[in-house]
């Protein structure tokens, strides 16, 4: 009987295809077809990043040893999900879906005999989930800091500021009145 890690490698294509379909299935049916079939990465940034992002995550999970570096495509994928119309949970729940997919595809052959393998797999998915949670939060925080920066550098600096002579006059009048 094969070890789980070997199974994960052997069944990569079928599991990954299902995982990609599952994630793309969170978009509308029209978008699903376009995101799945348009091969040009510039004409289809969501599809490209989903495919490559999930593959990178899969390879990380299927590999052994410590996950040292966050794959850049994964980061991009989470940045995309973080600004789309999903709840926070729906944005990142795809990571937990891999457990079910792997269970279905590899379960019969590896479930009972390699308990430690499964524990290790679960741990790697969970650790990736935490990484994704961090990425999601940093994306949202980045978004809000951009909004604050836009406000800070925005119109009120000029219209309410001291550079505008009419504002100075208004302010002087206020001071005189009080």
């Amino acid at each position: 009987m094969m070890q789980l890690k070997d199974l994960l490698t052997a069944k990569k294509e079928i599991i990954l295809t299902k995982w990609i379909d599952l994630l793309l299935g969170t978009y509308s049916i029209d978008a699903f077809h376009i995101f799945k079939n348009q091969k040009n990465r510039f004409a289809n940034p969501v599809g490209f990043n989903v495919k490559h992002g999930l593959e990178e995550i899969y390879d990380c999970i299927a590999a052994e040893g410590v996950i040292e570096e966050i794959p850049s495509v994964l980061e991009e994928l989470i940045r995309i999900r973080a600004v789309q119309e999903f709840t926070a949970a729906d944005s990142i729940s795809f990571i937990f879906a891999i457990k079910g997919l792997v269970n279905t595809e590899c379960g019969k052959e590896g479930l009972t005999d390699y308990h430690n393998d499964w524990m290790n797999f679960e741990q790697r998915v969970d650790s990736m989930a935490l990484t994704i949670f961090d990425l999601y939060m940093s994306s949202r925080e980045r978004l809000h800091s951009i909004r604050v920066r836009e406000l800070e550098s925005g119109r009120h600096i000029l219209t309410d500021g001291l550079k505008c002579a009419s504002a100075i006059i208004k302010q002087n009048q206020k001071q005189i009145n009080t």
Binding site: L22, G25, T26, Y27, S28, I29, D30, A31, F32, I34, F35, Q38, N40, R41, F42, A43, N44, P45, V46, F48, N49, E76, R79, I80, V83, Q84, E85, F86, T87, A89, D90, S93, F94, F96, A97, K99, G100, L101, N103, T104, W118, E122, S139, R142, L143, H144, S145, I146, R147, R149, E150, L151, S153, R155, L158, T159, K163, C164, A165, S166
Partner: protein, 549 residues
């Protein structure tokens, strides 16, 4: 596997098509209402602003000024709202031949479906240009075609309801009128004009956004989006001369305002005198004009190139645009030079001559330096700064030290309107290549006529819809990321003021290492000025290559 939740989820994965509980529509699009929640819509015009428009700008176009919120069930529409819309459509079908044609000729081939940056960023089918247009066509069919009246939904028709109006607002304000989809339409349908009609109709009911209506009111009153009064506008511009002096060692004395008898009237997007990074672009203009000794002036009356009327109604667009010719006439200039503005050029190139031309007092633009006659601007009398600069480059009229931009590895974002509405494709690249050693274009299907929008045009550049903006900007950012990783690009050049502001935010989210710069800033960096000191920094005080640390 002791966690029951995880087990349950695994079961779901096997049995269900999706884990997600998000709002993925499974119904026909006509049966999916628009849902307004914080972050997915722009705020309505303030009553005081709308009262100003109704009393002073153009009475009768903007519905009743009132306090309401888009998240409320009741938008406080007038009782006869339906009649207003139907009459509004009829009036426009009679008035605009293009609108009538676009309502009839679409065969729903789907060529446009995957071309919109908002669709590519959201996956929302109503952001497919064909479906966005169907939002309006379905009502047109129901009210104005026999097939629609008889067959209803079978013929793609539907009844006009309040939900339709809400849906229009949601999706006609998720279109930036960038016209990328039009490039791919075999019939040449200009979907931007459908959005324009949709917005005009909504305005009749007082449905609008403050981010557009307030700058439009300011433009009408004081001449520019921020409502800067003449002295403030002048003061801000002059303040930048101090910065130029600090960087170059040269005090520029040629900047002037409202000077009668100048040869050229120079009109810029007003953001260039107060907002980063536009101010650096402005510094570049001023350095260039001083360098070549151009006889020009800037108006504090026609102090805005941008025209938020384009995003509102054709009448307001015409009124705001009229200032350009009026001021050119008052000052007695020969022709008009326009700065790095985006939608200004759509208005000028495609509408100005029809709306406010032909002028009787201006001449066909001719460069005083090279003698080049700009025949392409024979009717509008207005030349783009990149055309003008490219011509100077072509005739070797500029003293240039390209190495002063060696700290920048540049790519160019073809701003939608200059690219698609006036065909300005080569000139910016000519200029960039003349003043920079390191230039790399983004992939072919993301530039020139196929350029992707910044995602924040047509008055969508407001903070309350930051999520939507970032989604819309994804295709553009995705291409920028590619050249950043492949060539080390650190500067995204463009020729649009909205771009300069919004691409900066876009990059802060998607590509934090990439700065945004107007092309004229790069020109200003490279020009060798008479009497200058040894340059250590660029116009934004950034260290030049070889002078860091």
């Amino acid at each position: 596997m002791a966690d029951t939740k995880v087990e349950q989820m695994s079961v779901n994965v096997v049995k269900e098509p999706s884990l997600m509980t998000g709002a993925v529509p499974t119904k026909d699009w006509m049966d999916v209402p628009a849902v307004f929640k914080p972050g997915n819509y722009c705020y309505p015009g303030k009553p005081s602003i709308m009262e100003y428009h109704n009393n002073h700008t153009l009475p009768g176009l903007f519905g009743e000024a009132r306090e309401f919120a888009y998240e409320d069930e009741d938008w406080k529409l007038p009782e006869n709202w339906k009649e207003i819309i139907i009459n509004g459509i009829k009036e426009r079908l009679d008035k605009f031949r293009s609108f009538k044609v676009y309502m009839d000729i679409c065969v729903r081939c789907g060529a446009c479906a995957d071309k919109c940056h908002f669709f590519l960023g959201t996956g929302d089918p109503k952001n497919m240009p064909v479906l966005r247009a169907e939002l309006l066509r379905s009502i047109y069919r129901n009210e104005f075609t026999k097939a629609g009246k008889m067959l209803g939904r079978l013929a793609g028709a539907r009844e006009l309801t309040i939900d339709v109006i809400k849906e229009w607002f949601m999706y006609f304000y998720q279109c930036t009128e960038c016209r990328r989809c039009s490039v791919f339409c075999p019939y040449g349908i200009d979907t931007a004009e459908i959005t324009m009609m949709g917005r005009e109709l909504l305005h009749l009911l007082g449905i609008n956004t403050n981010w557009i209506m307030e700058p439009a009111a300011n433009s009408n009153r004081t001449g520019n989006h921020m409502g800067l009064q003449p002295h403030t506008f002048k003061q801000n511009a002059e303040f930048l001369l101090d910065d130029i002096e600090e960087v170059t060692g040269v005090r520029i004395n040629s900047l002037n305002f409202n000077r009668k008898g100048a040869e050229v009237l120079f009109i810029i997007p007003s953001a260039d005198v107060f907002a980063e990074p536009g101010i650096f672009t402005f510094m570049g203009y001023v350095v260039l004009f001083d360098h070549i000794g151009l006889d020009y002036t800037i108006s504090t009356y026609s102090s805005e190139g941008g025209n938020f009327g384009l995003f509102t109604s054709n009448e307001l667009m015409k009124k705001l645009n009229g200032k350009m010719y009026a001021e050119a006439k008052r000052l007695g200039v020969k022709w008009i030079l326009g700065g790095e503005c985006g939608h200004m050029w759509r208005v000028i190139h495609q509408y100005m001559d029809t709306m406010n031309g032909p002028t009787d007092n201006l001449e066909i633009p001719k460069s005083p330096l090279t003698g080049t006659v700009f025949d392409n601007a024979a009717t509008t009398k207005m030349v783009h700064i990149s055309e003008f600069t490219a011509d100077l480059v072509h005739h070797n009229k500029l003293k240039i030290d390209k190495s002063r931009n060696d700290h920048r590895t540049v790519t160019f974002h073809d701003s939608c309107n200059p690219a698609r509405a006036m065909g300005l494709l080569e000139e910016p690249r000519t200029v960039i290549n003349a003043v920079c050693n390191n230039f790399y274009d983004m992939p072919e299907n993301t530039i020139r006529e196929s350029t992707f929008c910044c995602g924040s045009g047509t008055g969508l550049n407001t903070g309350e819809i930051m999520d939507i903006r970032m989604r819309g900007a994804l295709p553009r950012a995705n291409a920028v990321k590619y050249v950043k990783e492949k060539h080390g690009v650190n500067t995204l050049a463009c020729v649009c003021a909205i771009d300069r502001a919004t691409l900066t935010s876009m990059n802060e989210y998607w590509n934090p290492e990439v700065e945004v710069a107007g092309i004229s800033e790069l020109v200003g960096n490279a020009l060798i000025m008479d009497g200058e000191k040894e340059r250590e920094s660029g116009l934004r005080f950034e260290p030049l290559a070889g002078t860091e640390g």
